[in-house]
Symmetry: C2
Subunit: 328 residues, 2 copies
Amino acid sequence: MRFKKPPSVISGACVVGKKEGEGPLAETFDIIENDSFFGERTWERAESAMQRRALNAALEKAGLRGGDIDFVFAGDLLNQCIASSFGLRGSEIPFFGVYGACATSAECLALAAMSIDGGYAGRAAAVTSSHFCTAERQFRFPLEYGGLRTPTAQWTATGAGAMILSSDGGGPYITHMTCGKIVDMGVADANNMGAAMAPAAYDTLCAYFDDTGSGPNNCDLIVTGDLGFVGSAILEDLFRRDGMDIKIRHRDCGLLIFSREDQDVGAGGSGCGCGASVLAGYLLDGLRKGKWSSILYAATGALLSTVSTQQRESIPGICHALRISSYI
Amino acid sequence: MRFKKPPSVISGACVVGKKEGEGPLAETFDIIENDSFFGERTWERAESAMQRRALNAALEKAGLRGGDIDFVFAGDLLNQCIASSFGLRGSEIPFFGVYGACATSAECLALAAMSIDGGYAGRAAAVTSSHFCTAERQFRFPLEYGGLRTPTAQWTATGAGAMILSSDGGGPYITHMTCGKIVDMGVADANNMGAAMAPAAYDTLCAYFDDTGSGPNNCDLIVTGDLGFVGSAILEDLFRRDGMDIKIRHRDCGLLIFSREDQDVGAGGSGCGCGASVLAGYLLDGLRKGKWSSILYAATGALLSTVSTQQRESIPGICHALRISSYI
């Protein structure tokens, strides 16, 4: 879909944890919190607090208050998306809950952009989070257990990203959006979600290129979030088979947020807060400063649960892509 | 929000389980399946099968195929919404995952309507499900345990509703939508979700009446889904305090789908498949046949999880309202 009057991302803010604050993007984050509890009594409350802080910081940057926002689209990875519902319950903003696994950030932005371009909202917010500790104990093992990880496993980033979209503003603009189909190639290893999601990224990016009559070279950067090391290699290989080399323009939020050499994060970062905080900070900054003039942000999600894995299901993947540009 | 060119609900289909098929609305369901497994090997797969069957039935009624649909908006109550992602992974339709607890049906319809009225889609589908057995073991106890229920607890309906919206068609039309705010009045009893959700329903209905300059008497029916017996009484009482008697026009999907006298369902039905299957069958039928000319469908959700309850949190509620009318 092409937006007739592309909404402007007037403000973005990101809140991350200690480990993310020690990574290569440290300078691009608004808030780095060393306490994994964010001052709360549980990690789930901490994740809610991250969403709240990210939204408040984004509002403050834009000189706005909650009442100036018509809708907030929000989601996270927790069962029944409680990081969002508890985090934003005091915001007094009409609330649309979204679930797209790690593609949630792009889905929230897409729907927010649609609500503005369609004339239903003047301003809308998109808020997404993940937290290493809540994800680890919900999806994997108790933290105290100290389970070892396979080399293909990714590290859920602790981060929240909030962005404010407006019908007017000086950009960057969300100009196009491709909503992905669910793609399931039969990968069933929950410790290798990059491999499960890469075919979805390929499918959505191909659909975007077809629909717009463009190719990988028509934007400065193709940023997936978060395929990690394994999934990124698969995606690049899939395009190589079509005779397209995307490697030079391809970045992955899971590989940007951490240093795999120094930070022991397996195949890279993941979690819907990873892409959201990289986009709200590093990528938007780069667009604003002219480092890039347009990027394709393709967030990928693995639509599994612990129950589906225990029931020996394969992992359906999804990817939603947004073109974000400093000009219309 | 008022839709400029109200999308038409060109088709709706509902699939329910045995108990729902023994209730007062039996004749309005498209498929009643006596096997709680729907021929599958797990209840989760059964719920996915319900979504698939409901969507396929709705497509068939409209004389359409999956490829004719631009987007599907879908959700359910399971962790990470796997009923939707696994149910619709073979559909080849661009997929937006939605989580709004038992308000999911209205949220899916609202976003689908927005995508059509905004010009992004010609046709969109909204699919929602819940299953007693998947919900019971995820949120409460193993089925085999046979846990007793408190009188205020509701009975999760086994049902899926699918509706196809189109930019053209003869109605019924979705003319207005109010996106709810999260309302948390401090109710913390997970066995009394009606009480937790009623204030959200009141808040959203008041917003709708204010925004449209109308009142309860401007539509033929106000249908909540699903407050049950306790929540419905609270909602009616809240309006009574404002000098408005909504009782005569108020119905609740949780009280319509089951007979509390004959079916031992506590305070009534619940689950996002309850409202969806009542709307896709009984309510749309009534609008088409002229029984009512306009209804306000106000789906309510309790945004809790087992973790939030164990952590002694209160229950945030939400309600999204749609005006559905046989004329524009």
